[in-house]
Symmetry: C2
Subunit: 577 residues, 2 copies
C-alpha cells in the first residue's frame, strides 16, 4: 500500500504520468482502479481492468452531518468512494437560526465538500446531484444534477455500488396542513435561512412605507413561529434580539407594532428538555414580550391569516400574520420512501436499520442520520436463545453465575438490559432471581427468566433526529468500513445468541453530550451529561465555546468567531441582499 | 435650533412626548414639521400646519454613489428629506468584480442606507421602493415598493417635492443585441455578482459530472466576457485567479478544459486607459492564457452559442459557451427617459444638466451620477457677451489687459478655456492676440476674438460614468443645498456674461484622482493624477490601500480587509449558496 500511495501522490502532481503508472503497476492491486478513477472522464469505476481485483465501490448519498462525518473518518484508500449530494457543501446546521438574522453569515457555516475530501487519504469523487432512485435489485442509484441553467450535457447518470450509505436526511413535515407549503418559511437548509433573513427585512421595509395604515403595519410585523422545539425557540429568540438590538433604531416609527408569537401544540415549549429549562424559557419569553401559545394546533395557513385550534376548548381562531416560520418536525424524503417500498419497509414511518446501522433487509445498504432509525432488537424476541446460551450445563435452569458468564455479551447486544438495571438501581444481578414474594432463588427456569427480563424492552429509546446522533453514526460507520477486512477475520462484536459465532462489529452506541437552547439576550439553557441543567449568561458563553470548537474547519471557526465579534461591535446588517 | 434639537432628541427617546412637544413649540419653526415627519404614519410632510413655514421638501431618488454622497454631506436639519431607492443599502460597486469570485463577500461591500442616515444631523426618511414616474408638472414622484411577498397594504405612494435629486443611475446597455437579456449575466448590481458566483460554480459542478463528454465539459467551461472595459477585464482577471488558486485543486479532472475569452469591439482592451496600460494588460492576459479577441462585435447570443462579427473581415463566427458576462456600457433607465420626454429632452441620449447639476429646463430638479451628463456651455455661444463684458471702454476692440480683468470669471464659467491654454502650452494670454502670421497685435476686434477662442470648445469633455464622478457630484450638490440661503444672498459663482450679476454657486468641477485596473495574480495597473502610470505588484498593494480607505464605514472597511485576509489564508469559498 505504501508503494501505491507513493505513486498516487506522484500521479496527483503529474497527471501526465498516468499511463506510465498504469503500465508499471499492473500488479499494484488497488492502484489501477484508483488511477482510472482519477481519469478525466470520471466514469464510474466499473470499467476497471478485470484482471485486477477492483476496490469495492462505496456510494454515499448526502453531505450533511452523517455523510460528512463518515467521509471525514473513512480511509478512502480502501474503497472507490463516490459521493452524491445536491449541495456541494456541508452546513453547520445548529447555527442556522443565527443565519436568519445575520448574527453569523451563511458562508461562515458552510464548508465545501471538495475542500474536506481533498484532505482525505485516497480519492473521493463528488457529484453535485440529487439521488432520484435507489434501485436495490441492481445495486444502482440514479442521479440527476439539479443545476437548472442552460449548460450542455445530460445531468442524469447512474452509479453502481457494492456498499451504499444513505445519509440523505429528512424533509420538513407539514403534516399536510393546507397552505403551509405555499405560505410558510422553513428552517432546514441554508437557503431557507437566507430567505427568512430577506423576508424579515421586507416586513419592516413594507411596514414603514407611507401608504400603509397602522393595522396593515401591525399585520406585516406579526411574526409567527409554529413549533416550540429548539429550532423554533432559538429563531424566535434571535428575531427578538435582532429587533431589540438593531432594527428598533432603524425602523423606530413602527417599533410598537412588532409582535412575535410561538405556537406549540404541546403544553410547554422545549418539551424534549428538562422541565426546569421549559419553564425558564417560557418565563424569559414572557418578560421579552414573545407570546407563547401552547396547546394550539395550526389547521391552515393562507397568505394573510394563520388559523389554529385550541386543543382544550376546540375553539378555532384566525390571526393575520406578516410571516410564518414552520418548524415542527421532519418527514421521510420521497426517494427514501420509494426505497422502503422496494425492501418491504413500506408500512414503516422511517427507514429501519439494525444496531450496526445496516438497513433491515439489505446486506449492502447502510443508513445514518435523520433518514433512518435504529430498530433495537428486543430481549424478549431472543429470550429462549439467551437462556439456552447461558445454560451451559443444559440443566434447564439458570444460576446467577451462569448469567454472569454471558452478561457482557447481553449488555452489548441489548443495551436496554443495562438501562433497566440502572433505572431500577439494581446493582446485583441476583435481585433478578427473586420471586414475586421477594424470596431469593438459586436457579430459575425459562419462565422465571422471561418474567425477570420482561420489562427491560420498555427501556428501548428512539434516538433523536439531531446532528449529534448523525455525526456519531457517521464516525461509527467509517470505523467499521476501515476495519471491515480485519473484523471479518477477527470479529469484535458480541456473541450471536441465535446462530453461532460473534457479530463482526460492536453495535453502534450513542453518547449524549447534552444539548443547548439559546434563548436570546445573551442567555442560554443547557442540558449537560449527568442530568445537569445550566441556564443564563454563563451558559451562553459555554454555547459560544462549544459551537466554535465544533466547527468542521479552521476556516469556518475563524469566520464564525469573527462574525460574533462583528455583531458585538457593529450589530447585525440590515441590507436586503 | 439648539432648543429644537434638545426636544428632538427627547422626542426620539420618548415618542409619547410627541403631542406635548407639538403643543409647546408652536413657535419652534422647523421643529413642528420635523416632529410630524417623525410620526408613525410616515405620511409625506405636506400635511404640516400651514401657520408654520414648512421646510422645503427634498426627494432623493437612488442610493448609489451620487445619492449616498449627497446624503452624507447634506445638512438634513435644513430640509424635509425623503429618499427612495429599490435597494435599502449602498453598495461599493468597484468591488463587485471581487464579489463574483468570493474574494470579498457581498455583505462586506454594502452598508444599509438607514445606518448611514441615522448618523446624520436631522432626520432623513427612507422608503425602499422604485420610482415609477417623475411628474414634473405637479412636482410629484410616483413610487412602488418592489417587495413581492404577500404582505398587506398598498406599496404605491407618491411624494411631493420642492427639490428633486435624481441619482438613479443607469442600466445595462444590451445595444438591442438579440438574446443578451435572456442568456447573459451582467455585473451592475450586488445580486448580479452573487448570481455570477453561483453560476461559475455551476459550470464546474456540471462539467465534472460522469455523464458528460469532453466536448460538453469544454463548452460548459468556456467563459466569455463581452466588453474589455475595466469591469470586464477585472472580472476576467478575478475568474482566472479563482480558477488558478482555488478551483484547479478542487476540480482537477477538468482543469484542461477551462477557457476564458474577452471580446472587445475596439482595437484594445482598457482603451479608456493610457496605451501602456492596455498593452501591459493584453500582454499579461496573453501569458495567463486569457484569450483577447479585439475588433469583434457580438451579434447574438443564445443558450448554447455566442455569435460575433470580426469588424475587419466581416466574418461571422459562432462559439459554444458555458457562460457569457455582458459588460459593455450603460443606458438610460425608462423612468429617466420618460422624464426627459416631459421636459423636452426626448431627443437626447442622456439627461442633460447645466454646470450646476440642475436639469436643463427644470428649476427644481437636479441630476447626478450615471443618469445624467453635464452640458458644458460653449464659449462660442457667449462670445459676443464675453467680448462686450471685457470691453470696458466700449472701444469695440479688446486689449490683453482688458481680457485679464475678466479672465477669472471666464475660466470658472468655461473650463475649456483653461484646458485649451494648457494643451497648447500657452503661458501668456498675449499669444492669443497674434494674427495668423504670428505678429503680435495691441487690440483685437470681435472677429479676431472669435478666431482666437474658436478652438477652445473642442476641449470640452464628457465626464466618465464612474463612482468618482457621481460621488463628487453628490458632495458638491450637498454643499450647494447646505448654503443655498446664504449663497442666494451672497452669490459666490462667476459673473453672468449674459444677464447681470453673478451665478449663485461656483459650477461643479471634477477632480480626477486616477483609476485602477486590477489584472489578477496580485498585479494591477493604475493611471494616477499627472499622467503617471503604475503597473505591477506594488500597484496592487496601492489598490488594496485605496479601496480599503474609501469604504463608507468602519464596518465595511473591517469586513473587506478581513475578507482579503481570509482569502490569503484559506482561499475562496466554492460552496454554491
Amino acid at each position: 500500500m505504501r508503494f501505491a500511495s507513493f505513486f498516487t501522490s506522484a500521479f496527483q502532481r503529474h497527471p501526465s504520468y498516468s499511463k506510465l503508472i498504469l503500465l508499471c503497476t499492473l500488479s499494484g492491486g488497488g492502484l489501477l482502479s484508483y488511477s482510472e478513477s482519477q481519469s478525466i472522464t470520471g466514469t464510474p469505476a466499473s470499467s476497471t481492468n478485470s484482471d485486477v481485483p477492483a476496490k469495492k465501490k462505496v456510494v454515499v448519498l448526502g453531505t450533511g452531518w452523517g455523510g460528512t462525518s463518515f467521509l471525514k473518518d473513512l480511509d478512502a484508500s480502501l474503497y472507490d468512494v463516490q459521493v452524491v449530494s445536491p449541495c456541494n457543501y456541508f452546513a453547520f446546521t445548529p447555527l442556522l437560526p443565527s443565519v436568519t438574522c445575520g448574527t453569523v453569515e451563511a458562508r461562515s457555516i458552510v464548508e465545501p465538500v471538495r475542500n474536506m475530501v481533498k484532505k482525505r487519504k485516497g480519492e473521493i469523487k463528488f457529484w453535485e446531484a440529487e439521488c432520484l432512485k435507489i434501485d436495490h435489485a441492481n445495486k444502482t442509484v440514479f442521479c440527476r444534477s439539479n443545476i437548472d441553467s442552460n449548460l450542455v450535457g445530460s445531468g442524469e447518470f447512474s452509479l453502481e455500488y457494492d456498499y451504499l450509505v444513505v445519509a440523505i436526511g429528512a424533509q420538513v413535515n407539514t403534516f399536510n396542513t393546507p397552505g403551509v407549503k405555499e405560505h410558510c418559511y422553513f428552517l432546514k437548509e441554508v437557503e431557507d435561512a437566507q430567505k427568512i433573513r430577506r423576508a424579515v427585512i421586507d416586513c419592516f421595509e413594507k411596514a414603514v412605507l407611507p401608504s400603509l395604515t397602522d393595522e396593515e403595519r401591525r399585520t406585516n410585523l406579526h411574526f409567527v413561529v409554529v413549533g416550540g422545539g429548539p429550532t423554533g425557540v432559538e429563531f424566535a429568540a434571535e428575531l427578538h434580539d435582532h429587533f431589540q438590538e438593531d432594527l428598533v433604531n432603524l425602523y423606530s416609527s413602527v417599533k410598537d407594532f412588532v409582535k412575535i408569537t410561538v405556537i406549540q401544540s404541546g403544553d410547554h415549549i422545549l418539551n424534549t428538555f428538562d422541565e426546569r429549562i421549559s419553564l425558564f424559557a417560557e418565563d424569559k419569553f414572557g418578560r421579552d414580550g414573545i407570546e407563547v401559545q401552547t396547546g394550539c394546533r395550526v389547521v391552515s395557513v393562507d397568505d394573510k391569516n394563520i388559523t389554529m385550534k385550541t386543543k382544550s376548548t376546540g375553539e378555532i381562531s384566525s390571526v393575520p400574520h406578516g410571516m410564518v416560520i414552520w418548524s415542527t418536525g421532519i418527514a421521510t424524503r420521497p426517494v427514501v420512501r420509494d426505497f422502503m417500498e422496494q425492501i418491504g419497509q413500506g408500512k414503516r414511518r422511517v427507514l429501519a436499520t439494525n444496531e450496526w446501522l445496516r438497513v433491515k433487509g439489505c446486506d449492502s445498504v447502510y443508513a445514518i442520520g435523520d433518514c433512518s432509525s435504529i430498530d433495537q432488537r428486543k430481549i424478549m424476541d431472543d429470550i429462549s436463545a439467551i437462556f439456552e446460551a447461558a445454560d451451559k450445563d443444559k440443566s434447564g435452569t439458570l444460576t446467577v453465575a451462569e448469567l454472569k458468564d454471558v452478561i457482557d455479551d447481553i449488555v452489548v447486544r441489548y443495551p436496554q438490559f443495562d438501562l433497566y438495571l440502572k433505572s431500577k438501581h439494581i446493582l446485583d444481578l441476583s435481585t433478578l432471581w427473586k420471586d414475586s414474594e421477594g424470596n431469593y432463588r438459586e436457579e430459575i427456569d425459562i419462565e422465571g427468566f422471561k418474567m425477570a427480563l420482561s420489562h427491560m424492552d420498555s427501556q428501548m429509546k428512539t434516538l433523536p433526529a439531531t446532528a449529534q446522533v448523525a455525526s456519531q453514526q457517521g464516525e461509527y460507520l467509517a470505523r467499521c468500513f476501515n476495519r471491515m477486512h480485519q473484523c471479518e477475520e477477527h470479529p469484535e462484536g458480541p456473541r450471536r445468541f441465535k446462530g453461532s459465532g460473534r457479530h463482526t462489529f460492536l453495535p453502534f452506541r450513542y453518547k449524549h453530550f447534552g444539548q443547548f437552547a439559546p434563548l436570546g439576550g445573551e442567555q442560554a439553557a443547557a442540558e449537560l451529561p449527568g442530568d445537569w441543567v445550566s441556564m443564563g449568561h454563563s451558559t451562553q458563553w459555554l454555547w459560544y465555546s462549544v459551537y466554535a470548537s465544533k466547527q468542521v474547519s479552521w476556516r469556518t471557526r475563524m469566520l464564525v468567531v469573527s462574525d460574533w465579534t462583528r455583531r458585538f461591535i457593529f450589530g447585525r446588517d440590515s441590507s436586503r441582499i
